[in-house]
Symmetry: C2
Subunit: 270 residues, 2 copies
C-alpha cells in the first residue's frame, strides 16, 4: 500500500537533518529515506545550472527507494531548482520556499519581511517572488549570509565572532524595521540567539525547514497518504561522502546520534 | 617538441590561481592549462577516499591537453591524494607539501614549525611526516583552520572578525613559540597581515603555493623541459562550474581579470 512507502528527504549536506527532526516529531510513524550530498556540499555558491543537475541526481537516487513524496530540505535547491525539475517527475515534490513564505506573510504585522539565505537562494529571487504573489504590497528585504553556514559548522554558533558577522548581514533588515525574518537555510536556526541579540526578541523568526515539515504533513493528509501504522517509522540515512566532520555535524542537526545506519552511495551514478 | 607542451595546474577551486600567478612570474614563457573544480569545491572537508577520486578525475582531464607536468596547487589534494595517485601516471606530478616543508626546515632557526591547513590536510599528517623525514628533532604544531577559506572568500581578509578567529587558531602556535609557519592552503596568504598581527612580524611565513612554483621551475630545468620560446606563454582556464562568485574570487587570487578565456567542462565525465 502506498501509505507505507517512505518519504524521501534530501539536502546538499547534513543541514536537512533539522527538517528530518521536525518530520519525526510531527509524523512519528512515517518511514524516511534521507540523502545528504556530502561529497558536493555546499550548493549555495554553485550556478543554477549545476544545482539543477545535482538536484535531478538526488531525486533519481531517492526514487530508487519507492518513496511516496519528496521534501527538498535545502533552501538553495528549493529556490533554484524546484520549479525547473518538478514537471519531470510523476510525484509530489515539496520545497521550503512556499511554506516559509506563507507562514511569514501570515505572521508579519507591519508587512516588512526579511529573507536570509545563501548566495544562490537570494540570487534566485524566489522568496521575494512568492511573497509578492501572495501580497504585492509587502516590503521584502533580502540578504545573502554566506558566512553563516561555515560559522555554524565550525562551532561559532554563539559569542562575539558570529555576533559581529550577524551585525553586518542584518543591518539592512534592522534599518528597514522588518518584524518577521525567514531563515531560508537549514543552518540558520542554530544562530537563533545571535539573530535575536542583533534584531531584538520581538522579531518573528520563521524556520523554513520546520514550515516544510508542517506543509508535508498537510499534503500527506490531503492526498490520503499518511502512514496509518502504529509502529514508529524507520529512518535510513544515505550520504555521498563519509566526511570527517560527519558525526559531529549530523548529531548537531538531528539532536541525536546518527553514526549507525548510514550508508555511502556514489551520487554521480544517478 | 615536449618543451612547448603546457604545464597542467589544478586546484579544488580558484585558490590555485595564486600558484598560477607565481608560475607566470617565474616562467613567463610557459603555457599553462588551469583547472578549478568549482562544482565540487571545497576538498578540505571531504574524506580521503573522495578526494583521491576527484584528484584522479582532475588529472585525467588535464592529461587530455597533452601536458608535460602537473602541479597540484591544492594543499588538501597534495596532502591527501598525491602519494596514492602518483604511481598511476607516467608523468611528473608535483604537490605543495614537499617544497613547503623543505623551505620551512631551511628557514626555521629554533626548530619549531607551525602548519596551518584544512581539516583534510591536517588529518593527513603529511606535512609533519615530511618534516620529520628531513629532521626528526623538529617540533611540529599542526592546526586546522576551517574558517580561513570562508573568511577570505567572503571579504573578511582584514579587521576584527578574522583577527578574532586567527587568535583562536594560532594560540597553540604562539604558545609553542614557533618561528616559522607553513601556509598550507591556497587562501591563507591573503590573511598574511592578520597572521602577522597575531604572531608578530618576526615570524617567517612559507607560502606553499609559491614554494610549489619554485620547485616546478627547478624540476623543469633538471628534466630539460623548460619552454625555450621567447613568446609569452598562453594560459587557458577551465572550471567545472560557472559559480556566481567566480570573477570576484578569480580576480582576487590571480590579481588580474580572468573573465575571458574560461571554459566550463563536466568533470564527472573524466
Amino acid at each position: 500500500m502506498d501509505n507505507n512507502k517512505p518519504i524521501g528527504i534530501f539536502d546538499s549536506g547534513l543541514g536537512g537533518l533539522t527538517c528530518v527532526k521536525e518530520v519525526m516529531k510531527l509524523l512519528p510513524n512515517e518511514n524516511i529515506i534521507y540523502f545528504g550530498d556530502t561529497s558536493r556540499v555546499p550548493y549555495g555558491t554553485r550556478s543554477g545550472e549545476t544545482i539543477v543537475k545535482y538536484v535531478r541526481q538526488d531525486i533519481n537516487f531517492l526514487k530508487t527507494h519507492d518513496i511516496k513524496m519528496i521534501i527538498i530540505a535545502c533552501g538553495t535547491a528549493s529556490a533554484t531548482a524546484l520549479d525547473a525539475v518538478r514537471g519531470d517527475y510523476d510525484m509530489e515534490i515539496l520545497g521550503v520556499v512556499a511554506p516559509a513564505c506563507n507562514e511569514a506573510v501570515k505572521r508579519s504585522k507591519n508587512k516588512k519581511i526579511g529573507i536570509l539565505g545563501t548566495l544562490g537562494t537570494i540570487n534566485s529571487g524566489k522568496y521575494r517572488e512568492h511573497i509578492h504573489e501572495i501580497d504585492g504590497t509587502i516590503e521584502v528585504i533580502s540578504q545573502a549570509c554566506p558566512m553563516f553556514v561555515p560559522l555554524v559548522e565550525n562551532g561559532y554558533s554563539s559569542g562575539e565572532i558570529p555576533t559581529l558577522v550577524a551585525r553586518d548581514y542584518l543591518k539592512p533588515l534592522r534599518d528597514a524595521g522588518v518584524d518577521t525574518v525567514i531563515l531560508g537555510c537549514t543552518h540558520y536556526p542554530l544562530l537563533t540567539d545571535v539573530i535575536y541579540d542583533v534584531l531584538g526578541r520581538n522579531i518573528t523568526l520563521v524556520d523554513a525547514g520546520k514550515s516544510a515539515a508542517l506543509n508535508a504533513a498537510e499534503r500527506l493528509a490531503q492526498l490520503g497518504l499518511e502512514n496509518k501504522s502504529d509502529k514508529p517509522g524507520v529512518v535510513q540515512y544515505f550520504v555521498s561522502d563519509n566526511a570527517p566532520n560527519f558525526s559531529t555535524l549530523g548529531g548537531m542537526f538531528l539532536e541525536r546520534e546518527i553514526n549507525n545506519n548510514v550508508r555511502k552511495i556514489d551520487i554521480e551514478e544517478y
